[in-house]
Subunit: 342 residues, 2 copies
DNA sequence: CGCTACATTGAAAAACTTCAACAGAGGTGG
DNA sequence: CCACCTCTGTTGAAGTTTTTCAATGTAGCG
């Protein structure tokens, strides 16, 4: 589908010229000659990207951007300023308001086109990432990775098989096509703490790409699984050759960091009851099902408490009709109570 | 300084041709016509990069690579295979042994040169990153960021000033030029847990670059500090326009993840005594000084325990002559004992 | 049927936190 | 300069939470 670009520019010459360049590059261009007109058109056509002049009659470029950023539907539209103003304070003002990029007049055609393409790609990347709202999600759809890692051999791992161990040298990043994998560490007395459980379409096993650092954790399958092994070199190449993949990976890591930080504060100060409830709720959100299939010891390792303590807590929750349990799974009955525990 | 490239290639024609291309691109090229000869030269000249054929007399390309990877001094040298073999298993074999890239004959000159340049840049990036051995380190030297963020206005923050708060919308990434900053979260009863303490030359305050997510933590200065505010757009642009920055950022995040995971297992299962010792030791490594200046409450929030418990533990360690304390700081006396506690 | 692995319960012990009281440094205002 | 206030650090004792150890139960499998 051709991307729709809205071009808001006061000068007739520049507007027509720029539109011509964009049209040659096969974009569908709508033009406006001031801010007010631009906003009217935008509300109407929902452009995929906006290029806007700054000084204009009626509403100036900053004003247009502010209106965009406040409008639910237009909020995420990439917004590029095009202006002869080159003072630092002007550029910063635009950026602070949430502009995506800033093109200084005069510009080369290639400059314009690469900025446009870049922004459209990021916006696309964003939309693809958006499928689960708000909730942290490690999935990166295979289609996005496919172009880099297609034709790779698929490896089958039986339930319980070890993928890598603490201390192993790390040469790969793994992509889980199907199955379930836990990553965990043991403390010096052998107690296990599960750092993540991965399901379909997750990328895991990151270690430094620049240094040759050993893994600090173990990875074991929890069911029969299929995965791709991507060597660090290939991965590095993919990042270097594809800007959007790099951004996606950075994003994935940042979210994972946020998630781990939340875990930290829970571990530090929450009661066992609260930690257990929290973990169950996370598993529910992550799996999308009321029924959570997990062994008592794995659940205990995930919460970070002794198995016996976990069982006592589950019994408690069961008595309060918040959950039901059987040998193999926990079923959430009262989601609201579970979420608001303690 | 011109980079030294070692080219190991059995075919006279191809060797001379390739060398000529590289020399035109202003590299200093050394050539060898088989593996044994190549290794001799390598030990002698310590090349910055190696390009090697695979099937050769005496020692083949795989063999050369293995020897490189086992040699302390040559270990990190970027190694590119150049071969007409295009079977998947061959490429994978090379990658698994630790090759950096794989160029299939016939190739375009530009293909060769971009692979070479790419690898040299990564190696350079790696060396710059290497300053502290093994230890996790958030510093990215300003010189590396300078090209992207020079001329940015510097902001002064007084001791105790708030930089951002939980729930704030995140528009910036911060670069700490000078000073000290803590990031922390509060649980619902107001207990504080410190997730990081940043010092000079650290990049912090990452949130998703694609989605507009609020901060989940707070950042406050611990002394008068100077920092740069980098808008997310600028940061995204910098990542997109500079491959090596992207790799560095990914690396930074991966290391931070590893570090947080270590913290998790400590929080989950270690005794207060162990956690305290561990935290002190980390602070010592991070600060490079025996004397750790930090308030009792901040130290408690960093370990994740009650202030009183922390004080009792410090008293214990003091009685065992492992540390000394005064009102404002903790001094480590016996590093070995501290590291091996419990 | 008996083995194995996981699940459950009880009771005692250990580890931490909380509350409360007090001490001392450092700053402030009369 | 002193009295006073406030903030941080310290200690004691009681109370709570969690772990540990040990014993028992139970589903599933060859």
């Amino acid at each position: 589908m051709t991307a729709k670009i809205l071009l808001i520019e006061a000068s007739d010459d520049l507007r027509e010229n720029t539109a011509a360049i964009l049209e040659l590059a096969n974009y569908k261009v709508h033009t406006a000659k001031n801010g007010r007109e631009g906003i009217e058109i935008a509300l109407n056509i929902k452009p995929d990207l906006v290029i806007s002049d700054i000084p204009m009659t009626e509403i100036d470029g900053y004003g247009v951007l502010q209106i965009f950023r406040k409008n639910e539907e237009l909020q995420m539209t990439p917004f590029i300023f095009m202006s002869a103003k080159t003072k630092h304070s002007d550029v910063r003002k635009g950026m602070d308001l949430g502009a995506s990029d800033y093109i200084t007049i005069p510009f080369y055609n290639s400059e314009l086109l690469s900025a446009v393409e870049s922004r459209l790609n990021i916006a696309k990347s964003y939309k693809e990432n958006k499928n689960t709202q708000g909730k942290f999600n490690e999935k990166i759809e295979l289609e996005n990775l496919d172009m880099f890692f297609k034709n790779k051999e698929k490896f089958n791992y039986k339930n319980g098989a070890s993928i890598y161990c603490e201390g192993n040298n790390s040469n790969y990043v793994y992509y889980l096509i199907k199955g379930k994998v836990k990553t965990f560490r043991n403390n010096e007395y052998g107690k296990e703490f599960i750092t993540s459980i991965f399901k379909n379409k997750s990328l895991f096993g990151f270690t430094s790409l620049l240094e040759n650092m050993p893994y600090i954790e173990n990875a074991v399958t929890l069911e029969n699984s299929i995965l791709l092994k991507i060597t660090k070199s290939e991965f590095l190449n993919a990042i270097i050759k594809n800007d959007y993949l790099a951004v996606r990976i950075v994003d994935l890591l940042v979210k994972k960091l946020d998630y781990l930080k939340s875990q930290l504060i829970h571990l530090a100060y929450d009661s066992v009851r609260k930690k257990t409830a929290e973990t169950l709720y996370e598993l529910y959100l992550d799996g999308g099902s009321d029924i959570i299939e997990i062994s008592r010891s794995n659940l205990a390792s995930l919460v970070g408490i002794a198995k016996e303590t976990l069982i006592r807590t589950l019994t408690e929750l069961k008595e309060e009709n918040i959950i039901k349990t059987n040998r193999k799974a926990v079923k959430i009955i009262n989601h609201k109570k579970l979420k608001n525990i303690k």
